[in-house]
Symmetry: C2
DNA sequence: GATACCATTTTGGGATACCAATCTGGTATC
DNA sequence: GATACCAGATTGGTATCCCAAAATGGTATC
C-alpha cells in the first residue's frame, strides 16, 4: 500500500470519526507530521478528499468541511433520485440471490452490537443495495452521498425507536425488492430517505448550539 | 491563476478536443514539458482529471480514458435519473424567467454556426437546465456526466436531421417546463436522453473500426 | 531466427528546498 | 489606550532531487 493511499485513508477516517472537527483548519505540515509522510502524498490525499467534499479550500489553506444543513437537504434529494433509479434497475433483474447477502448484513446487528457498527451497517445497506443495480455511476453516487452524510448521521441524536424503525424500513424495502415490486419498493425507499432527512436535519438544528460548543462548525439551512 | 489550475484546464481541453487520443499513454514528464510547469501541478491536475474520468491509471502510469460504450450506456441511465429529478424540481418553481435565458442559448445557433458551437450549446442546454433546479448535487452530476459524454458526442456521426430533431426536443422540453407540466416535461426529457444514447452508441459501434484506425481506443459494450 | 538475459533508461512515488503571500505578535507613535 | 506599522514565522505553491520498479533494447546463446 502506497503512502499516498495510506494518508488518504487515515485522514478520511479521522474526519469521518470527527477526530478533527468540522470547520477545523488543516495545514499540510500538520498532516505531514501526524502521519509521517511528506507533503507530496499529503497533497494528493487532500486533493482527493476535496472532491469527496470532506475538506475544502478556505482562501489559501485547507479546512475540514463544516456540517451544512442546507447541503444535507440537497444531498437527500440527490440520493433519493439515484437510489430510486438504482433500485428500479435491481427490481427488474431476474437474480435476486444477492439480496440475501444484504439481509444477512442487517441480521448481523442485535442489541449487543456497538453503536458504531449499527451506524456503519445502516450506511452500507444503501451502498450495497445500489451496487446491485450493476450501474457503476449510480453506485458511486450513492456511496459518495453516504460519505458526505456520514458525519452528520454520527452526530444525530437517535433514540432506540428511531433505529428500530429504520431497520424495519430497510427490511420492507428488501422484501418488496425481492418480489420485484418496483413501485412499492421505490415508494418505501423514498419515504425512508425523506423521513431520515427530516429526523436528521431536525436533530442537528436542535443540537446546533451544543455542537458548536464542541467546536463543530454547523452551517444553518 | 495558479499553474495548477492552468495545467488542469489546458490538459482537460486537449483531452476533450481529442488532441490526445482516447487510450493514449500520458507521462508526467511529457505534460510537464508541454505546459511548462513542474511535476507538482501536473500531478495535481492528473489527480483531478482522474476523478472526472478523463484520465485513468494503467498500472503504473497514466492513460487518457478510452471511449467505453458500456460506460456510455450506464451514464445515460445515470443522467436520466438526475436530469429528470432536477427538471421536476424546476417545474415546481414559481419563477420561470430563467428559462428564457436557456431558450436564447438555443436561438443563438443557426445554419452559420460552426459545428463545434452546436456541440457545446447542446451540452450546455442540459447543464444549465439542471442548474435551474437549485440543487448543487444534481447540477454537478449532470455537468460531470456531460463532461464524460463530451468526447463520444464529438466523435458521433450526426446528420443534419438528427441535430435538428435534438433542437426540437430541447424546445419542447423547455415549453413544457415553462408551463410547469412536470410529467410531460420529464417524459420528453427521458425520451430525448434514451434516443440520444441509442443514436450515440449505434454510431460509435458502427464506426468503431474507423475510430481505432485513427488511434482512438474504443471499448465495446 | 527465436529466446533468455542483462545493462540502461524511463517512469511514477516520495522527499526536500525555495519562494511569495499571508498571518502574527509586538512595538512605536499619537 | 488605540492604532498604524514592521519583522519574523508560517503556509501553500512550485521546482527539483532521489529512488525503486518497470519498461526498453541490445546481445549472447541455443
Amino acid at each position: 500500500m502506497s503512502q499516498m493511499q495510506n494518508v488518504e485513508r487515515q485522514l478520511r477516517e479521522m474526519i469521518l470519526a470527527l477526530e478533527v472537527g468540522p470547520g477545523e483548519r488543516l495545514t499540510e505540515r500538520w498532516i505531514e507530521g501526524r502521519f509521517g509522510a511528506s507533503r507530496t502524498p499529503v497533497r494528493a490525499a487532500l486533493l482527493r478528499l476535496e472532491t469527496e467534499g470532506l475538506v475544502g479550500r478556505d482562501g489559501r489553506g485547507w479546512t475540514v468541511s463544516p456540517i451544512n444543513l442546507a447541503e444535507l437537504e440537497q444531498i437527500a434529494v440527490y440520493r433519493e433520485a439515484v437510489e430510486v433509479a438504482a433500485l428500479r434497475l435491481t427490481c427488474g433483474q431476474a437474480d435476486k440471490s444477492a439480496i440475501d447477502v444484504i439481509e444477512a448484513m442487517l441480521d448481523s446487528c442485535d442489541e449487543n452490537t456497538p453503536r458504531e457498527e449499527w451506524h456503519r451497517v445502516g450506511m452500507d445497506f444503501h451502498i450495497e443495495l445500489a451496487r446491485l443495480s450493476g450501474n457503476e455511476f449510480l453506485f458511486r453516487a450513492v456511496r459518495d452521498a453516504m460519505t458526505r452524510l456520514s458525519r452528520a448521521r454520527w452526530l444525530e441524536v437517535r433514540d432506540e425507536t428511531a433505529l428500530g424503525r429504520a431497520w424495519l424500513e430497510h427490511r420492507a424495502i428488501l422484501a418488496a425488492t425481492r418480489l420485484g415490486q418496483a413501485d412499492e419498493a421505490t415508494r418505501l425507499l423514498s419515504a425512508h430517505i425523506v423521513g431520515s432527512r427530516n429526523r436528521l436535519v431536525t436533530s442537528l438544528a436542535n443540537d446546533r448550539r451544543g455542537l458548536r460548543a464542541r467546536g463543530f462548525a454547523v452551517v444553518a439551512a
